[in-house]
């Protein structure tokens, strides 16, 4: 199975990863190999198999609706690159 340059560029944009032209050529080969490997799964007959939501055969436990967390803003903001007025600052986002 092959993956096109265009697909690689699109995936890179979605993942916010910068990929230059030389890397794209190498990725075409590597990702193609991975997809070939995954493709072999297509040979399995899955007609009567229900899609799996989780590998564990278990059910989610739910939590009572009680506040258990306290304010630890100072501790969290101590490791943030930039904060002001209690806000985390990030590079400007334009809608």
């Amino acid at each position: 199975m092959t993956i096109s340059r265009k697909d690689i560029e699109k995936v890179a944009v979605l993942a916010r990863i910068k990929v230059d032209d030389e890397q794209v050529a190498a990725l075409e080969k590597d990702l193609g190999n991975i997809l070939d490997l995954v493709d072999q799964l297509g040979a399995a007959d899955t007609d009567s198999v229900e899609p799996m939501a989780h590998p564990l055969d278990a059910v989610q436990r739910l939590r009572p609706d009680v506040v258990t967390e306290t304010n630890q803003r100072e501790a969290f903001q101590a490791i943030a690159p930039a904060t002001e007025d209690g806000l985390y600052l990030v590079p400007r986002v334009i809608e």
Binding site: R16, H54, Q60, P64, V66, V67, E69, D85, Y88, V93
Partner: protein, 483 residues
Amino acid sequence: MQWDIVIGLEIHVQLATQTKIFSGSSIAFGAEPNTQANAVDLAMPGTLPVPNEQAFRYAVMFGLATNAEIGRRSVFERKNYFYPDLPKGYQTTQLAQPIVGPGYVDIDLADGSTKRVRIHHAHLEEDAGKSLHEDYHGMTGIDLNRAGTPLIEVVTEPDMTSAEEAVAFARKLHSLVTSLGICDGDMSQGSMRFDVNISLKPKGSDTLGTRTETKNLNSFRFMEQAIAHEVERQMDILEDGGVIVQETRLYNGDRDESRSMRSKEEANDYRYFPCPDLLPVEIDDAFIEDARARLPELPDARKARFKEHYGLNDYDAGILSADARLAAFFEQTVEHGKDAKLAANWIQGEFSARLNAEEKSVAEAPITGAQLGALVTRIADNTLSSAGAKKVFEALWSGENDDVDAIIEAKGLKQVSDTGALESMVDEVLAGMPDQVAQYQQESDPKKQKKMLGGFMGPLMKASKGQGNPKLFNEILVRKLGG
């Protein structure tokens, strides 16, 4: 050319839980930025989400109230996109196996007819944080208190054909979730947000046109305006031979204009997949029956009861029963005020007008149903004239005094209904106005006579210092002048 309008809605309903959907952080409104954002909400490495049972209970209650199938097994998925107010890089939501399956809601239209709007499904998901675009030295401020707030997203079928129907559905949904107590319904704080999908097709055609989505409308008025605006925009394009581009649009209610946010070509590819951090959630019969037992009286039943029990007409019953808090206020008023029709008039009149003027919700009203009830009692037993009642209402509202009888006493608003006292006032006033009395008695047209009575009322009210019962004054006048 004639066009059919096709409208479907997506509504985000913020659930009135104590804590977030996947963590034990409080979701109380108005806290200092980021003081309610813990390690799970901030997506710190090594944290695991644990779903809130109450969020599921509320979703199931919503499902039961909308005649829906409950998803016995529901699965959380990751919807991947990058935005700084979404720390995990994905929103945890439901897609293929939501908690609430197909259901419906019946809406009442202005012409008296009823229409069924089908709900495709409703799913649980988390809200994102808030981006503050004010200038922080060229940077954007992020408050993650809202991140992880539980929402249900309700997705309708494209069953609505006008702005009126869409707004009627939105109001009905608001009425339902507030009555259920699963949402505070406070639209100004974003507790309910509407996305509207609109397309046009030639009248009678079976083929749907290309649709646009107008996002994040947070009032019924803006919703109505946005639909009218978008229908007109699409109609103009189609009638000029153009094509509609499938896109997401933002509506600016203050300017009544909209702009494209993103088109389908640049639309996000969300790469949904089941969230490996969360196991499937199974809901059993006991959980569903427990939720059913918690269902309160719903708006349709309440409306029927208001008509039956209080003798209200359809219109009054509809308005007073739609909002759970207004309904409770009304019942409290009647409990203390006896006269249901009078209570209904005051709540829909003076009370609602003041709330609107001051942009307050019923919960924020400075007066209680008991106080308004006491006021209604004093109107019904003729202690207060309508002018006096307004003065009492004013004093209650401003907080000048919180006791109706004390206000009546302090302001001297008690109507004089003692016939003897009123009669002597009438005699005195008539004696001072012989010309007008003669004119009245010579007049043969009863209509004109009736009008002339007004000329005596001014001096009478003055003589009684505004406290004479106008109805009794009128009766006495007619009797004395006629005789």
